[in-house]
Amino acid sequence: METEKSIWKKCENELTTYYTTENKSSQGHYLKALACTRSLIVNHSTSNETIIHILKILLQILNSTQHHFHHHHVLKLLHELALHHDVLSNVVLDNVYSYVLAHKDTSRLTTKALGVLVEDAKSSSSYELGEDLFRSLCLSPSVSVRSWVLGNARRFCVSPGILVSVMLVCTNDPFPNVRRAALEGLIGLRELEDVRKRGVIESCYDRAVELLLDNNEYVRSVAVRVVCEWGQILAALDSEVGNAEGFDAVFIQLCAIVRDMSVEVRTTAFGALGEMKLVSEDILLQTLSKKVIGVTKKRKISGLVTSKVVDLPPSNAAGVFVHGLEDEFHEVTFYCVFTFSVQSVKWYSCNLSVLLRCPYCLVLKVRTSASISLGKLTVFSGKFSENALSLLMDMLNDDMMSVQLQCLEIMYGMATSDRLKVQQTHMHLFLGTLVDSCSLIRCATRKILRLMKLTGVDMFKSVTNDLLTNLESYPEDEVEIFNVLFYIGRSHGKLALNFVMEVLQEIEPSSEGDLCFDKSRVAAILVLAIAASLSHEQHTKTIPIRIFTYAVPFLGRISPSLRDVISQDTLFAYLSHCSRSAHPPIAETFGQEEQIPSVDGHIPNQSIKDIIDQVSSSSQIICGTSGSQYQDNLLDLKHTILVPEYQPKLNSNQKEATSAIVFVLRTVAATWPLIKSGSIDEIQRTLRSCKDELVTISVEFNGSVGFLAFACQYLRVIKMLVKVCNHFLPPGKKSMVAELEELHILEIILLNCVLRLSKPEICCRRTTLKKLCATMSNLELLCEKGFIKLSDFARELKSFCQEESSGDDVSYGSIHLERLLELFSLKQFVYSEKIKHIKADLDVPGNDSENPLPFISGLPTAVTFQITLHNGLPKENLHIQGCMEWIVIGAPLFRFVFSEYEKEYGNRHLYSGEKIFLRLIQNLLILKDLEPNFQVRRSSSRKEPEAVPSRHLYRGGGRWMALFFVGRGSGGDFE
C-alpha cells in the first residue's frame, strides 16, 4: 500500500511537470513514469483510491488543450484503465467520447481515441459515432486513419447504402492497404439485408473483378474473396430467374487467377474455389485437364461484369487442379487438395437422397430443375471421378507424406460412395503404397483395399500377392493384413476360391511330412479360404475339408484380425463344423440337430446358418451392394460391422474393474484400525493381496488408467506408512469429515512430516518443518474453500506449527507429536473420476549396456535426452524442470538441473533436452542409474508457476519413469 502510493506520487510528479514545463530533457523519466502508471493500472491489487487518482490526472492531461503530441500515451492508459476496471469504464468512455466530439479533426489521435471507444464492446451501442465523423475520417489525409476507419466501419452508425458506396470509392485509393481494407469491408457487408440489392451487388462484384488485376498481391487476394462471396450472391439471384450460368461464370473468373505468381493469392484462390456451391460438370471436368476439352471449347459463358460485356473463356479452368496439385508451395497444394476433395464430395452428393440433406439443396434443386436429369449427372460424376482418380493416384508419388495421406483419404471417401474404379494402370503405384515405409500410409491403403472392387483376375491376383509379400516385409502388420484379406476374399468369393485352389500345395505338408504351419503366409491363405467359404455356401463344398482342419490350430492367430466380423467362439464353431462334416453345412438339417461345443465348454446358441447370415449381412454393408441401405450406413460404418454382443461386454468389463478398485480402496481404509492395534503382519498380508488384486485388474483393464495408477501408488504409500508406523504409534481413534481427495493426500503428507519430525536423527528439521507449514496452509485453504471442518489431527497440527514458528527451537515436543499421531486416522479414499495420470518417460537415446555413451574422461561430455510426457496436459505452456542424479563409479553423486520448454509433438509432448554437459572424472558413467526428478509446471501467461504437491518416482523396464499427480496449486481436486 505504502509502496504503491509512493510510486504513484513519483509518477504523478513526473507526469505533471512534464506536461507543464515541457522539459524535453526529462523524456526518459517521463516514459518511465508512464510505464509505472500502466503497471499500477494493470495490477489488480492497486487500491481504488490510487486508481481514481490516476484517472483524475489522466483526464486532466487529456482535457488540456496543449501537448497534443502526448495524448496518445494518455489515451492508451485510459484504454487500459477502462479494460481493467469495469466500474470506471463508463467515466473513461464518457470523457473519451466528448474528447472525440471536441476534436473533430481527422488526425491519427482521433482514431486512437475512437479505438478506445470501439474496442469496448459495451460502448459501441451507447456512443453514437455519426455519419459526419465517418465521412470526414474517410477523407483524412492520413493513410492509416483511412484504413482504420474502413476496418471498423461497422461500428459507426452509417446506413449500409452509404457504407457500400464509401467502400467502393475507397477501392480506388492510391494506397494498397486502404484498397485492401475497403475490400475487406465489402466482404463484411455481404450479410446486411439492405445491401442485397442487385445494383449494389453488381457494382461490388465488378469492382472486385477489376481489382483481381491489381498491382498489389494482398489487394488481389482479398479481391478473390470478394469475387467469390459477392459473385455467388449474384449468381444465386440469377439462378432464381432461371439463369443458371452465374456460378460457372464466377468459378471461371476465379480460375483465371489461380496461376497468379503470388502464393498468397493462389492459396486464397483455391480456398475460394472450394467455397463455390455449384459448378457445372463440364467445367469441373475441364479443371482436371490442361488441354481444352471439346465440350468447353464450344461453350461460351458471359461474365457477370456489367459495366462491359466480357466473355469468359471456359478454357480458363483448364487444368486448374493439375496446376494446384503440382504447386511448389505446400500450402497451395494443401488448399488445392482440400478444395478438390470438397468439390468432389459435393459432386458425388448429387444423388437424390443426399440432395435433400445437402445444405445447398436450394441451389442444387434449381440446377437439377434446369432439365438435367439425374442419370446424366451420375454418368458425368462417374467420369469426373475417373479423371480425378488418375490424378489422385499420381499424387501418391508426391514427396510429402501428408499429401499422400490426404489423397488416400479422398480415395477412401470415393470407395465408401462406391465410386472408386481403379484401373490396372494405377495398380502398380497404388500397391506401391502397401510397401511404403510409413505405417500410416500402409494403413490408409489397406483401409481402401477393404472396400475396393477388384475387376478381373489379374487385379485380384496382384492385390493378393502383394498383400502376401507384404506380410513378409512387415510382419507387424499381420493382423491388419489378415483382416483385409478376409474382406477381399469375402467380397470376391469366386476369385478368392480360385486363388486358394491354385496355391493349395503351399499349405499341404511337404514330401518330408513337414507342415509349414508356422508360416504367416499359410495363415493368410487360410484366411482367404475361410472368407471364400463364408462368401457363399456353394464355395464350402469346393474347398477341401482338410483346409478347415488346418485352420483350427491357427485360430488364435486368425481370430484377432477378424474380431470386427466374427468372434473367436463362432469362428471355432464354424471351423470345427466344416472340418468334421463331410457334407456342406446345410442350414436346416444342421441348425436343429447339432449344436457346436465351443472352446470353454458352453454351447453357442448360434447355428452355422446364423453365422453365415451374420457375417454376410455385415459384409453386404461393406461391399456397398445396395445403394440406399448403404447411404444410411455410410456414416457409422464401424458401428454396424461390430458384432452386437461385443460392445456391452467392453462396458461392463470397465465398470467391473472400477468397482474392484473401489473395493480395494475400501479394504485399504479398513486396515487402519488394525494398524493402531499393532498387528502389522496381518495388515501387510492384506495389503499385499490388495496389490495382487490391482495387478490382476491392470492386466485386462483398459478404462481409466489414471485411476488404476493412482490406486497402485496409493497402496504403495500406505504400505510404506504401515512399515514406518511400526516404530511409533500407540494408537487411538477419531473420525474426520473431509471427503476431498486432495485433503486426503495432504493429510498423509502431513503425517509423513510428523513422523519424520518425531525422529530428529532421520530428517533435516528445518526443511521438514517448512514443508509441514506449507502443506498445512495448503490444507487450510482447501478447507476454507470447501467449508470443511479441519480434522482434529489437522487442527492440532496447526497449533503445533504456530508454536514451532514462534517458539524457541529447543523444545522438540515429542509428546506433542505422539499425540498428533494418535489423532490421525486413515479414511477410505473416495473416487470421484477426476484423477488423471500423467506419466513421463526419460530416455537417453543411443545408450545401452553394449554401446554406452562415448566420452573422454576429464572432458565435458554431452548427453542428449528425451522426455516424453504422456496423457498430455491441456495446451498451456509447460515448463519442465528437473534434476538428474548421476552415479559415477567411484565418484560422488552428480546433480544436474535442467529446464526445458515445451515442444508439441503429436498428441504427446516431447521434450528433447538439448545436451547436458558433464565433466566426468572417472572412467565409467552408468547412465542406467540416473535418477531423473521432474517437475512439470504449467506457466500460463498470467499466473505464476505452481508447485506440485506430490510426486513419486519408480523404475520400470530399463527406463526411469516419473509418476506424479499434478494438483491445481493452492486448491482444487486432482485432475
Partner: protein, 535 residues
C-alpha cells in the same frame, strides 16, 4: 527516339545461339550470347557484325545480360569478349557465374581435345571473360548507369536461371530466357512481379503448341519401368546431362527408394562432372524449389541416401542397380561404354532423354526398333534391352507461356527460341485470345516497337497532396448519389457512377522556363501572381 528496337541475332525461329540486341531509350542491351551446337562453321555464333557500330562493341553495347549457363545462351560469350573485344559490363546470377566455367571448359575440351578442331577460345579466355562478370541476386535492382536499371527474377529451368527486367526512362521490357512455369522435384516455378506498363516481353517458345499434362504422370511412368526392371534383377542405365536432369531424377529415385525400402539396390553416379555438379547443388540450395529449401533444415535434398559412386570394375557385377552416366545422348564417353555392356540383356533398361541429336546412339535407339547398332567400325551392339523415353523437360509448355504473358500483360510480345510453324500458331493464339500484339522474327530481323512517350512535368506540393488524398468533391457527390438510391430503393445507376476513376484535378501551367507544371486550383492565382478581384 521513343520506342524499342529489337535485333534478333540468334534463336529467331530456331533453337540455339540465343542472342537478342535490344535498343531501348538510347541504351543497347545484349540478352544472352549463345552458340549453336548444330553448326561447326561461322554459323555457330550470332552475326555480331550486324550490331550497329560493330567496330567498337564496348561503346556500342551498354551491357550484356546472361540468363543461364546453357551453352546456347552463354557459349559465345568468351568469343565475344576476348576475341571480338567487348569490354563492358556483363551480368548474370551467382550460380550461373559459378557453373558457366564448368560448362565452357567442358565444351572446349570436347571440341579441341577429342574432335581436334580449331580452338575458338582458350581456357585462359574463359577465365578472363568471367572476370568481367558482375554477379547479381534475384530481385536485386542493378543500376547499370543513370538511366538503365535491370532486375532478375526466378525462372526455374536450370539452377540459377533468371528472367530479366530492364527499364530505361518510361520504357520497360522483360526478357524471359528459358523458363519453367511448373516446379519440378528440385527447382521452383518461375516467379515475377506484376508490372504495370510493360512495353515488351521477349519469351522463349520451345513448346509453342504442346500442352503437357501433370508431371506426376511422367514420374509414375518412369518409376514404374525402373522399379519393374530392378525387381526383375535388371540394370538400369540412365544416360543424362550432368546438371539439372540428373539431380531431378536422382531426387525422384532416392525418395522412391526410401519409401519402398529398396535399400539393397544401389543407385550409382558415374564419376566426373556429375559429382562435382552435385556439390554445387548442395551449396546453391537457396536457388532450388521451396520444398527442397524447407526440408533443408533437416536434410539436404542433394545428400542422396541411396546413391554411391561407381567404379568401372562394378560394371559387370551381379544383381540389379541403377546407374547415371554422362553424356545424355550416348554419343560417347562412359554412357556409351556402359551401353555396350548392358544393352544385349533383355532384363536391362535404358532411358533416353527427350531429345537426341541425329547421329548419336540415342537418336538411333529413339528412331525405331534398332536391334543391331553399329557403335563404331569394329563393334556392333545387339540391343535386346528395354528402352524408355523420358518426357521430362525444363521448359514451360504453351499454357505456361500464355499464363505468363497474361499475367504480365505487356503491350507487345516477341517470341524466340522455338520452331517456326509452332511459333506462328502461338503468335495467333496470343493475338486472338489476349489481344496483345505478337511477333516471331527470324534471325537477323529487326522489330520496332513504339512505346509511349511521356512528358515530364513539375508539380506543386499542394497538387500532389490533393492527388494522394481522397478527392473530397467526387466523394461527396457519390455519397449523395447513394443516399438517393437508398431513398428510392431501386435502380442501379447511381451506384455505378462510383466507377469513375479518381481524377486528379489541377491546372497545367507553362511558364517561360518551358517546363510545364501542374498546380492545384487554389494556388493558381499566386502562381500567376495576380490578385483576386471581387466581382
Amino acid at each position: 527516339m521513343a520506342g524499342i528496337e529489337c535485333l534478333v541475332l540468334g534463336a529467331g525461329q530456331e533453337v540455339g545461339k540465343s542472342c537478342v540486341i535490344v535498343t531501348i531509350g538510347g541504351k543497347r542491351i545484349m540478352f544472352d550470347c549463345g552458340m549453336h551446337m548444330g553448326y561447326l562453321d561461322e554459323r555457330r555464333y550470332p552475326d555480331f557484325s550486324r550490331i550497329p557500330n560493330a567496330t567498337d562493341f564496348t561503346k556500342s553495347i551498354t551491357c550484356i545480360i546472361i540468363t543461364h549457363f546453357h551453352l546456347d545462351h552463354i557459349g559465345a560469350l568468351p568469343y565475344f569478349t576476348e576475341v571480338c573485344g567487348y569490354d563492358g559490363p556483363i551480368y548474370m546470377t551467382y550460380p550461373t557465374k559459378a557453373l558457366a566455367p564448368l560448362m565452357l571448359e567442358d565444351y572446349r575440351k570436347v571440341m579441341v581435345d577429342r574432335r581436334g578442331e580449331e580452338e575458338q577460345f582458350s581456357s585462359q579466355n574463359i577465365v578472363d571473360c568471367l572476370k568481367k562478370v558482375t554477379a547479381v541476386d534475384l530481385r536485386q535492382t542493378v543500376k547499370v548507369d543513370d538511366e538503365l536499371e535491370i532486375r532478375g527474377y526466378y525462372a526455374g529451368h536450370v539452377i540459377g536461371a533468371a528472367m530479366f527486367y530492364a527499364k530505361v526512362k518510361d520504357s520497360a521490357l522483360v526478357y524471359t530466357g528459358d523458363y519453367n512455369m511448373t516446379p519440378d522435384r528440385h527447382l521452383g516455378a518461375a516467379s515475377i512481379d506484376k508490372f504495370l506498363h510493360l512495353d515488351l516481353v521477349i519469351s522463349e517458345s520451345t513448346y509453342a503448341t504442346t500442352v503437357r499434362e501433370s508431371k506426376y504422370a511422367r514420374e509414375r511412368e518412369f518409376l514404374k519401368v525402373v522399379h519393374q526392371c530392378v525387381a526383375n534383377g535388371g540394370k538400369v542405365l540412365i544416360p543424362t546431362f550432368a546438371l539439372g536432369r540428373a539431380q531431378e531424377l536422382c531426387i525422384l529415385l532416392d525418395d522412391y527408394w526410401e519409401r519402398m525400402n529398396l535399400n539393397n539396390i544401389p543407385i550409382y553416379f558415374s564419376a566426373g562432372l556429375t559429382l562435382q555438379a552435385n556439390m554445387y547443388y548442395k551449396m546453391l540450395i537457396g536457388w532450388t524449389s521451396q520444398k527442397v529449401k524447407d526440408s533443408y533444415a533437416t536434410r539436404n535434398a542433394f545428400d542422396f541416401k541411396h546413391v554411391c559412386s561407381f567404379e568401372r570394375s562394378m560394371l559387370n557385377d551381379r544383381g540389379p542397380c541403377v546407374l547415371f552416366a554422362t553424356p545424355g545422348m550416348i554419343s560417347g564417353g562412359f554412357s556409351l561404354e556402359v551401353f555396350k555392356q548392358w544393352a544385349p540383356s533383355e532384363i536391362n533398361l535404358i532411358t533416353l532423354p527427350g531429345y537426341c541429336v541425329a547421329g548419336t546412339v540415342g537418336h538411333k535407339l529413339m528412331s525405331g526398333k534398332a536391334t543391331k547398332i553399329q557403335v563404331d567400325k569394329e563393334t556392333q551392339v545387339d540391343v535386346r534391352c528395354k528402352i524408355h523415353q523420358l518426357s521430362f523437360s525444363p521448359h514451360t509448355d504453351s499454357k505456361g507461356i500464355m499464363d505468363l504473358v497474361k499475367f504480365l500483360s505487356p503491350k507487345n510480345v516477341i517470341l524466340v527460341h522455338g520452331e517456326k510453324p509452332k511459333m506462328a500458331k502461338l503468335k495467333g493464339k496470343i493475338e486472338s485470345e489476349l489481344g496483345i500484339k505478337c511477333y516471331d522474327p527470324a534471325n537477323n530481323d529487326v522489330v520496332h516497337i513504339t512505346s509511349p512517350h511521356y512528358v515530364k512535368i513539375d508539380a506543386t506540393k499542394a497538387f500532389i497532396e490533393n492527388c494522394i488524398n481522397p478527392n473530397a468533391k467526387s466523394f461527396d457527390s457519390k455519397v449523395e448519389g447513394t443516399s438517393d438510391l437508398s431513398s428510392k430503393g431501386t435502380g442501379s445507376s447511381p451506384v455505378k457512377e462510383t466507377y469513375d476513376k479518381r481524377v486528379a484535378e489541377g491546372i497545367l501551367v507553362m511558364d517561360k522556363t518551358k517546363r510545364p507544371k501542374a498546380v492545384h486550383q487554389d494556388e493558381l492565382l499566386s502562381v500567376l501572381q495576380v490578385k483576386r478581384t471581387q466581382t
